[in-house]
Symmetry: C2
Subunit: 264 residues, 2 copies
DNA sequence: CATAAAGTTTGGTCATACCAAACAGGGAGG
DNA sequence: CCTCCCTGTTTGGTATGACCAAACTTTATG
């Protein structure tokens, strides 16, 4: 019977358990999806990546090879790859071999990117994010005023100079503006902060870029940067914090009025 | 012929393009994985979720139903579901119907959870995260001292009282301890901060829980909380910041010595 | 030796089949 | 009439096997 032949097809499904535990009771930590067999593969690959068994920036083995290595079906392998990809541990472009990406703080930020983007579309989303940035930067300039090292000051001075030179070029000004603020995030010498800065700029940028810019406006912002810098150099945390607060508050007012996102 | 029948199998692969665009040039934003057909499904589902077409907390349609709705194979549907799941837009337990989860700031944090956990295993990872927490909380208590409202004070007072009552019960103490700090994150009235607190506690908890606790230790911590509270009530930002800094510094020293993770 | 053509992977999808756990109904027992 | 258990159906998890098109390799060619 033809039907019979077709029916045969799948031979050993249960036997596939060979080696792959499905963690029955496990810790069931926060991560939502778990329990499928793919998780075993995910876990192993994850380990191989973090331990360096799979070298960073090198391509992942072919799927058909992995399915042999884990004695799992391609279905499972693919699912594992998909998950790892959206977790940022591997980067998979459309039709190319996935590339191993050892996680760093920046990777972590891009992982939230998708959700954050959604949150920003909700009422008050942009405001909340911006406010958190103001809050953080206030603390950063304060910290800078208190503990900035010589080379931090140098960096700030250079960023400020570049900022000044770009006053007549709004595009360049924007970049140097971001860079100046970026220096503030490097002062605590904690890789988490630059990553956060990265996040802020990439998430808030869309709203900034649409905004009209002008040399006059740039000059105002430059003066603010100058004031912040001075306060830091003079080791005056309160003045630095206030200068920055005013700067960012003014900037917000500007966008708030430009669009008419009063309740954004 | 049986063989013929089998061979036929896949009828319209190319025709499957019916309605699903593969965004050839698209914006190709930051997200790594893109280009597969699943992305179309992902996008549509994503939209249906955020627009509320798919009600929050309600189960997703069955896979076999979705594949009809999107005229795509189950493979694609599953991949979409997997991705959305790891993005936090839907929550899928092992063998249950996936549940729609409208994103919030907390969801965003859990999305990074996986990566953060890895980062913590690296040299300096825990230290960096902890330092960032100290940095943030210093700013928070300062803010609290400056702008705490009446009800914020009430909340702090209550949290402090609960903390005191739990001194003899280390487990309870831990919880009230976390709760006390948690109140600080609510004072700026920005939903981002409580989410961050959530993150800190869940990520750093594993390291804390292993630590020995004792009533003596609890008392010391309680006194610290008391000092912080007092400074806030007295509207003294500098004192509050210092009290908190000392508190967290001491706590760190304690764990640092307990384990012998000098360069953790 | 550079380059174009031919051949071989390999990722992306589709279709089908089966299992086991979840779910929905219905009948037995209180 | 309500509760509980048993049973048939739905549905998620996996396995196979095929096929296409793009990427990668090898080989022939000018």
């Amino acid at each position: 019977m033809a039907a019979a032949q077709i029916a045969v097809g799948r031979t050993g499904k249960d036997s596939s358990v060979s080696g792959i535990e499905v963690e029955p009771g496990g810790d069931a930590h926060s991560m939502p999806q778990s329990g499928r067999a793919a998780d075993a593969v995910i876990a192993k690959l994850e380990e191989q990546i973090v331990t360096g068994a799979l070298e960073n920036n090198s391509p992942l083995p072919a799927e058909r090879q992995l399915m042999e290595q884990f004695s799992a079906s391609r279905t499972v392998i693919r699912e594992a790859i998909a998950t790892l990809s959206s977790r940022g541990l591997i980067e998979s472009r459309p039709r190319f071999r996935p590339v191993v990406r050892k996680p760093d703080y920046e990777t972590a930020l891009t992982a939230v990117g998708g959700i954050v983007r959604h949150l920003l579309t909700e009422r008050g989303g942009v405001k909340n994010l911006y406010d958190s940035r103001v809050f953080l930067e206030r603390a950063l300039v304060r910290q800078a005023a208190i503990a900035a090292q010589k080379d931090d000051i140098v960096q700030l001075r250079e960023a400020l100079a570049a900022n000044k030179r770009a006053i007549d070029n709004s595009d360049a000004f924007y970049l140097t503006d971001v860079a100046f603020h970026g220096v503030l995030y490097t002062i605590p010498k904690n890789p988490i902060f630059p990553a956060i800065h990265e996040g802020y700029t990439s998430w808030l940028a869309p709203h900034w870029e649409k905004m009209l810019r002008s040399p006059e406006r740039n000059l105002v912002n430059f003066r603010s940067h100058e004031a912040i810098f001075s306060a830091i150099v003079e080791r005056d945390p309160d003045a630095a914090e206030e200068a920055l607060a005013n700067h960012l508050k003014a900037a917000w007012e500007y966008v708030r009025v430009t669009f008419d996102l009063d309740q954004l």
